[in-house]
């Protein structure tokens, strides 16, 4: 991340966002050109003291490695609270049906709620275009080489997207069950989506994500008759990792179980309005 505003120096692009990153990225290190003589400063920190010579010393910093991200996440969270926006961070493996589930959710709820979507993918704006076809505002973030969205990208995306007050913002994270677990975006809840075409032991294989999520949607249940997927086992595994996780069984294709998911969104959104 760059040292001035914390943004990735990599290849992150946010649709419609033209933040001119022309501040200097130099690392402030000094080049020494006298390699052929030796200073002996003694062993370890702060021994001999001679004027003009640099000395080792200890600095206690006690800083969280993700501290910077957490600061941005706190700013996002404050923005969401001030605007009474319920923000849900959707996480899953690639191919779990996240975008299909999201487009169906939007179609079914867009007349009742103000919706907006931030789409995260390594490349292409295909998903944001799919969402915009539903008539709802959507913004694509391409993370380039990055494997997750971070809170700073979301902060910039909010400037452009401007979700409506008292609405619901869905963030569709990069399809990845590992890295997005650690990066708080300022969301109210992480929603993990697991499809029955994956293994039932995914919650055990990727415990961090299922631990970080408050609700799990078990998707594609219309395919259960054709698969050897043990729903009870899957739920049991998810509860091992996260005893408090709420689990709903849904099919975004047939619509089965989607009512409970909508109820959950509406109830949670009401709580956001109360503050």
């Amino acid at each position: 991340m760059c040292t001035v505003c914390g943004c990735g120096e990599g290849e992150t692009t946010i649709e419609g966002h033209s933040h001119p990153h022309n501040h200097s990225h130099d690392h402030d290190h000094e080049h020494s050109h006298d390699h052929d003589h030796h200073h002996d400063y003694g062993q370890g920190a702060a021994h001999a003291h001679a004027p003009g010579m640099s000395q080792s010393r200890m600095v206690q910093i006690e800083t969280d490695i993700l501290g910077k991200n957490n600061e941005y996440a706190a700013l996002n969270r404050r923005w969401f609270a001030e605007h009474h926006v319920l923000t849900l961070n959707l996480v899953s493996s690639p191919g779990s049906g996240k975008t299909t589930l999201l487009t169906r959710t939007i179609d079914d709820l867009k007349n009742e709620l103000n919706l907006a979507v931030i789409e995260g993918d390594q490349q292409t704006a295909n998903d944001a275009e799919r969402i915009r076809e539903t008539g709802v505002k959507a913004l694509q973030i391409n993370t380039g080489k990055g494997c997750h969205l971070d809170a700073h990208m979301i902060g910039h995306a909010l400037e452009t997207l401007k979700p409506e007050d008292k609405g619901v913002l869905f963030i569709e994270n990069v399809g990845n069950l590992v890295c997005p677990a650690a990066f708080d975006l300022g969301e109210a809840h992480k929603v993990a989506i697991l499809s029955v075409t994956e293994g039932e032991d995914k919650p055990l294989k990727y415990p961090d994500m299922f631990h970080a999520a408050d609700i799990m949607l078990l998707n594609k249940i219309d395919l259960l008759p054709y698969l050897n997927f043990d729903v009870e086992k899957c739920i049991e595994y998810a509860r091992h990792v996260n005893p408090g996780i709420k689990i709903l069984q849904v099919s975004a294709t047939t619509g089965e179980g989607m009512d409970l998911w909508y109820q959950w969104i509406k109830t949670t959104q009401q709580l956001t309005l109360i503050g």
Binding site: T3, H27, M58, V59, H148, C179, A181, A182, D208
Partner: protein, 113 residues
């Protein structure tokens, strides 16, 4: 997981502190890494070397302080040690565990000049 971006985060903290605490070179970094933090130490060391090349932390030693995973067992009403998030209570076998420690990723201390 994402050790590369963690290392970039570390480098940023070092650069920020280099200004405020006035140092030019980092020789050793002590990191506190919890057993449940999801950090792969070997990957971290590898990425750290790559990320710090040409910076104030080039060739710095990375020292890892491991912290055990701790969870509160609701049945036993006490803290127990766990190595994974899906572990059962080593005493009673219950899965009603709330992780209370061991997910830290912290920069504790630096040796600088």
């Amino acid at each position: 997981m994402h050790e590369m971006s963690l290392c970039e985060g570390i480098l940023q903290v070092l650069e920020d502190n280099a200004k405020s605490q006035q140092f030019k070179k980092v020789k050793t970094i002590w990191l506190e890494i919890g057993a449940l933090s999801g950090v792969e130490i070997e990957a971290m060391k590898f990425c750290f070397d790559a990320v710090t090349r040409g910076t104030l932390a080039e060739q710095a030693n990375l020292e890892i302080i491991n912290k055990p995973g701790l969870a509160w067992c609701m049945k036993c009403s006490k803290n127990v040690e766990v190595t994974q998030r899906f572990d059962e209570c080593p005493d009673c076998g219950s899965y009603q565990l709330q992780v209370v420690g061991g997910d830290e990723m912290k920069i504790k201390e630096l040796e600088v000049e």
